[in-house]
Symmetry: C3
Subunit: 681 residues, 3 copies
């Protein structure tokens, strides 16, 4: 992803505020469109995603384009200085196309999907690609110089797969490129197991879930093919509007696509965040921590550069089992958290509720009644004012000294492989648990792939890195030797990129680096009590008390490592569970068991303290308060949110002012869900 | 539904007692048929449903009818003065037909069902309609003058849908009639959403669950098409046996068909009631209250006229997860409850257990051993005697001053729409909860559609009326202005008949009538505590204490209404939750939150008391005792059942006698599950 | 099953120790194969199952066989005196075959399966049978005289069904043979129900789950067709290697196949046992008891002769939700339990973990690292030494005086029929509960079919014998009259072999034998309290206190039987629940309710004590200790395992020695999971 822009939209100095706008649903009521603009002004809205599902409106019959309505929409936007994030319409194909060209519809289990819902076109079908290229070219030609055109919004929430004959042809071609020969494919996929050796390419014609390397490759292919589709979508846009940046909206840890791969096709990252605020049976702090992880992951996809919160709800959603409205204050807190994590603005799904169909009860800035005296509208407008005041000051990147590794390949290998334990594997939750000790201390973290450049970090945490890509072990060792601290956990280094087990004992090629071997693992059910007891060495490094474990207990052999904690119960009492090895200028920690949150906090937080990793605020954050910094030195802005569910106070001391009001701040009193932006005084 | 008969079967003065009889299963054992008749006499049985699944017996090969066996069956019935409720056999097609004419089998997702089970024919296929018309004509011709012929039992438990090409053709034709043009269809279905605009009728070829108006129309079409099939089934019967009434057996709140629509094709309503007596984790009183609701709903489908309990089990069923036998007494109590709610008798599935297949363990009057000394048989026989004693006295209609609104369109809009909360929506349970305050006071209630004539009522309760049909708002306002009391709840008036949201603020066209607006809603998870606190105005109207709420909390703005209760907790503490507006001579109450049972009872029961609605007995009923009245004045009969699980006593005072024995009754002592019929002394 | 061999492998005097070995997965790494052999020697391994899924390796393209690699494998085995249990490769067809001959793939609901996973070939397709016959013949021709060939392992874990047109043709032919005419079929299937009468054979073309007799016949057909396939597989082997015994690996109570039927095709029984040791929410003693039942069932399939534990895991599996490794000692205890129940050895899945695909994390003797210093390997090796020491002494059969009846037909009738209760039916668990009182006393039990010869037993327990095959009632009565004690339970004798209810009152043809009738049944939900109170007669026979019941309570009429216990609660308090009738020289007990474990123990254990059934050890076993005997008199060996989870001590008294060490043993101290083999001193 080339670094093209400091801010997302060239020449547009404001933080983006706006969201999905669907005037194509009420073109017959122009007064609504005008009312929308008045409300947008009232809410400080400057950027609207338009045309996302407008293909049927733009091309009502094959080859006949109707742009007049969109001309009017863009002109009206430009009139008030607002920007369009103009969508290509490929997220929902017109009904006439589904009827005339059945191959644009996906196929699974030999059955072609009917025309229905959205996000379900075949990524391979040449006719679909041609139709997309044509309409995208027409859009680019028409609006290339339009003053409202701010960015391209490619399609919408790419996802899913298709298993039609065209896709299988493409997959076989992909496999031939990847593996070269059928012999290599047989070797890579370990097809001798259960006698699944292929003797002709044509025999590769159905997914076999028992052949993990095949399903891994299928998922990689789906990501590559989607990326290829994106590139094809983008080609006319890149040619005709080279100055306009391109994005598509990601979905956090969505398992269907490797966003690290897709990111390569985009100019900036954007994503749709729908945290479960005020959750059933949970608390907001958990939600905030998880959201912070997701923001850091999405930012990581873009190499750390600013990104955009493309969708969020100002109140509730309507597609979960249960979704409460954001309570007073939460909208501001959640939005500033996103900006603190690097977003260049706050956008919503949706600006106004549509009258019918499946999103008519989804939260929006403007309700069916078009009023601006709603609580939700008022909070959005207040945020608009805040973003307006902050606008010029924001834009510096987040700079992180720590990284958590997260890989889609690892997620696939864990979730789709069969293990001793096939429940509670929880890769995502574990990654979040190891991100949280840093997040809660206000320490910036990049969530990045194993393939990322690690040299910039001082601490790298690699939770459950079951699968190791080629070269990763070597690079991790270099990182440590050069002074970095590496923390890994149970299940590390068990399979290679073809999901074949390493043969020299787990953690595979990292065995020497950690100085441990994990020859056996217990997977106790919930009623079994197991705890870790720190050794003297562990105590010296900040471990204390007794840490309960669950789900995964590796029985370690410390071949060349300090033992920091051992198991206290069961037949393996006394067996090493947590170790550390000093290597060169750095350290390699191995946590062999799934401990509680305190264990991760003591280990990762303790290391961060010893390393003196930079914090957003140089003071202990009260429980429930989060802080993120953007920029350095005098330009540094600190975003502080209170997710505690109760008031909190921070003794800032001298040197700070409120970035909005400019008023000096020595003590920061935060009401429930209060959020503030601090600048250096 | 024309009012043709005071009693169901013309010229037959008895309450019906009998049920499904399947001698076609044991034609090879004529001694069993003779034993059946002896046992029927012993049990006071006078009406038998025959031939329900007898197509293969009546037409063993295409075009060859065999009626001899049915002749014998009907002759034997007539000999003892029993009536046949003669079924048309369309509920289960012969195997030869499924093989020769595949189009009689239903299709879903492009796959034709195999020949199996029952109730699965295509309602559209011309060949099936022709075959049904032919056999029905043959039956009517043969038995038009048979003395045993009492009524026609059309098919059995119509239900389900078919999505074959013929049905899709029929649906498109139906849509053309309903909407006129494709432009109107696009508007009604709000197809601009997600770019689903249709440009040719042929594109309407698959259900899209995200397009709620389409699924609503599909369900309406299925009801209409089923009604059309019924009309076609009935045509030869109406022509050849105009004197014989027609029914089919309904299934309470079965969601697949709009019984208000189907009822238009029938001469009287009948239904199959299988309450969950002695339920796991519940109590019998709940079951009795729910059953009372269902009886009132079914009676309402017939415009309030007497109806027939077409199926019930004398003991247990065999198709639930768990079904206990009715305990001693419960059979009498449950049966008299049905008669009290307007049934003209008590019929069973099944008279005798068949030896094989899926209903061989279903409860029956006669078990496999053919004995009459079973407890179950003895209780059935005792009930037969009771019905015989009551026979001439029963027949007057139930007269209700109150109504609860229940609409299948509303159920579909709630269940299939996506909302802030997609669990615990519970439309049926909520309707029952608002029916129960009246039911437990012995106040007769009609459960009717929004389209019913409301002028006859003094109180109308409209729970969760999310969807409003055209004209309903106006009629509700007229009802109130004329002096009626209307009670509505959260979720009222949000969408029109095309499932498009009303734009002027919820409750849509009823906003002025109630004087409230509901701009926001909380949907708290179960662990959140929320309660309602009555205001002084509310207290004056009988509200008291604190009412817990759950699932739905609308934050009301009382634009022109008295506030009767407000929320006590969360960020919307103090916000109005229950309001009342006096309008003309009447009142419009709005309950904005899902309260507990006590709230519904205090509101609805309180209004009933203030209005002085007539009760079956003019005294407080002990908890667990239910009472229903039929008729007025001297002919009035009161049915009293004790569902409390313990003895109960009622001080009736003077003026009552036992309708069976004639003995005067000043005090009524009811054992557990006891039931009695009272007449004026 | 002809009695061909005292020991399984002719001329091979050792207990088998080994398991599935898959060198076809690492043919490219010959050093691994050599390492395997060294480790086999270290572990005392003498028998390897090879070639199970090797078809693609043996016939890489159609008609071209490659045996060189298998020659080398067998030669190497022979070199060290090890035996091959040589598999036919039909468990997994080559990809080329699936592509060229689609009919080898199974079909369900009209859809042909893709090529994937395993165990999914059509049993009927002639081309598959021809291919199997050809490769089996080639294998037999090549290895008929090979010194390593010890036994044939037919395919692998046969299971599932296919519903392709070829199978439906075969089913119709099977039905014609079974029922003779369509009229007989209609009668047997009770097709008059729901008008399902067939008028042509072609109409029998889809499974109808509501027609229980059809599904029963389908399951019987699947078993017969699988047996027919086995016979076809075996034909060339029987012809070319008549001296080599044949088996296939069963799976305990696997519901898909009637193993009593399949056993007729085999020379000895083997099965794959994967008990859930250290279970979530359970205890090991339950697991041990259930495993004992399964061993007895599998032994029963072979007429009581020695059998082989063909697969077991030395540690954990990877296909359960959760599988802990066997804890120290458990491997020895579980393995000796199998030998005590009649196994001629202990074999594993798998010798060495494969690198890729779905079983790469399944437990194995040798891990990916190839080390022999793992705990698991050491325990396997220690067991190998034990088996080696015991080898010559073991071989005598288990001799049982008691039997528990278990039938697949009964399981199908219970599980697939619709009853008053369709949850918690628990046929298997109930059978185990009635086996356990004997097992825990060290009394040998055969678990056999209703069709087994019962004359050899003194006690027969027939739990939940809902379905009775023809003649069984007569044979049970003869058994009792001749002095046997028969114990039956609720649900006995309700349907015949066509799943048609007996007409003379339940328990059908056994009503006179038991002297009871069960006209009614309660099926209380969990919150209902019901208990049994012993009568004086019951107390005299050892019943005591109060026994809670659940799920099933039959209300018995004791027509001609002593009442031993009655119900204490509900409306049927005082009704008989447990009865006994003395008949001839024997007794017929009827337990009408599902009691707790103590009830089964008091009844069955009490009878066993009164009858003086022989125990493995003539002393009370401490709770948690199991004991099994093989052989009689001086050759008798007694296997003792401690599953208690804590140490246990047995005062053996004089006359015993440790069969391994020869040391005399008067007191036996067993650590947790300890196990010992005793011989007469």
């Amino acid at each position: 992803m080339p670094a093209r822009h400091r801010n997302i939209v060239p020449g547009f100095p404001h933080l983006l505020h706006g969201g999905d706008w669907n005037p194509d649903q009420w073109l017959d009521r122009p007064e609504v469109i005008e009312q929308d603009h008045q409300l947008m002004s009232e809410a400080g809205v400057n950027a609207l995603s338009v045309g996302i599902f407008a293909w049927a409106a733009l091309e009502p019959e094959e080859g006949r384009y109707e742009f007049a309505w969109l001309d009017a929409i863009l002109d009206r936007l430009a009139k008030d200085g607002r920007k369009a994030i103009l969508a290509t319409p490929s997220g929902s194909k017109p009904a006439w196309m589904s009827l005339k060209y059945p191959e644009v519809r996906r196929m699974h289990n030999g059955v072609r999907e009917p025309h229905h819902t959205r996000h379900n076109h075949c990524y391979t079908a040449p006719v679909y690609r041609a139709k997309v290229a044509a309409i995208n070219r027409a859009l680019a030609e028409r609006y290339a110089r339009h003053p409202a055109l701010g960015a391209w919004h490619l399609s919408n929430e790419y996802g899913g797969d298709c298993q039609c004959p065209l896709c299988w042809d493409a997959f076989r071609a992909w496999l031939q490129r990847r593996h070269g020969s059928l012999a290599e494919l047989n070797r890579a996929w370990y097809t001798a197991f259960w006698g699944h050796t292929f003797s002709a390419w044509a025999e590769v014609n159905a997914l076999d879930r028992t052949m993990h390397a095949m399903t891994l490759d299928w998922r990689r292919f789906v990501s590559d093919q989607t990326a290829d589709f994106i590139r094809a979508e983008a080609a006319p846009l890149r040619r005709l509007t080279p100055q306009i940046p391109l994005t598509t909206n990601f979905m956090g840890t969505y398992p269907g696509l490797d966003y690290h791969r897709l990111a390569q096709e985009l100019d900036f990252i954007s994503w749709d965040a729908y945290p479960d605020w005020h959750p059933a049976g949970g608390d907001d702090l958990d939600t905030a921590a998880h959201t912070g992880f997701n923001h850091d992951l999405m930012r990581g996809c873009g190499g750390g550069k600013p990104w955009v919160l493309m969708e969020s709800t100002p109140s509730s959603v309507n597609w979960k089992k249960l979704s409460r409205p954001k309570q007073p204050g939460m909208h501001r807190a959640a939005s500033l958290q996103a900006v603190g994590h690097g977003s260049e603005g706050v956008l919503y799904f949706q600006w106004r509720k549509g009258r019918g169909c499946s999103e008519k009860f989804h939260g929006a800035v403007v309700d069916h009644d078009g009023r601006s005296d709603h609580r939700v509208f008022r909070e959005v407008a207040a945020l608009g004012a805040t973003l307006g005041r902050l606008g010029a000051a924001v834009g510096a990147p987040v700079v992180a000294q720590a990284a958590v590794l997260y890989d889609w390949d690892v997620a696939w290998a864990i979730d789709e492989g069969q293990m001793q334990r096939n429940c509670d594997k929880d890769y995502i939750a574990t990654a979040m648990d190891h991100h949280r000790p840093l997040w809660r201390r206000g320490i910036a973290v990049d969530v990045v792939s194993q393939r990322a450049d690690l040299a910039r970090y001082r601490l790298v945490v690699a939770p459950m890195a079951l699968l190791l890509h080629p070269g990763v072990a070597e690079r991790l060792e270099s990182f440590v030797r050069a002074g970095g601290v590496l923390v890994a956990t149970y299940l590390t280094g068990q399979v290679d990129h073809n999901d074949q087990c390493f043969l020299g004992g787990f953690p595979g090629p990292l065995r020497a680096l950690f100085g441990v071997r994990a020859p056996e693992m217990d997977t106790p059910p919930d009623h079994v009590v197991q705890t870790l007891a720190p050794t003297a060495a562990g105590t010296a490094l900040g471990l204390s008390g007794s840490y309960p474990t669950r789900h995964f207990d590796e029985l370690l052999v410390a071949e060349d490592a300090e033992v920091l904690a051992t198991y206290a119960h069961e037949w393996y009492a006394g067996t090493p569970a947590v170790t550390r090895r000093t290597v060169g200028a750095g350290e390699a920690w191995y946590i062999g068991a799934r401990g509680d949150r305190r264990l991760a906090d003591d280990v990762v937080g303790g290391i961060a303290a010893r390393l003196g990793l930079e914090r957003a605020l140089d003071l202990p954050l009260p429980e429930g308060v989060a802080a993120q910094a953007r920029g350095t030195g005098a330009d540094r802005l600190v975003f502080v949110e209170n997710f505690a569910g109760a008031p909190r106070t921070l003794a800032l001391g001298p040197g700070w002012r409120d970035a909005e009001s400019g008023a000096p701040l020595a003590e920061l009193a935060l009401a429930r869900y209060d959020a503030r932006v601090l600048a250096r005084a």
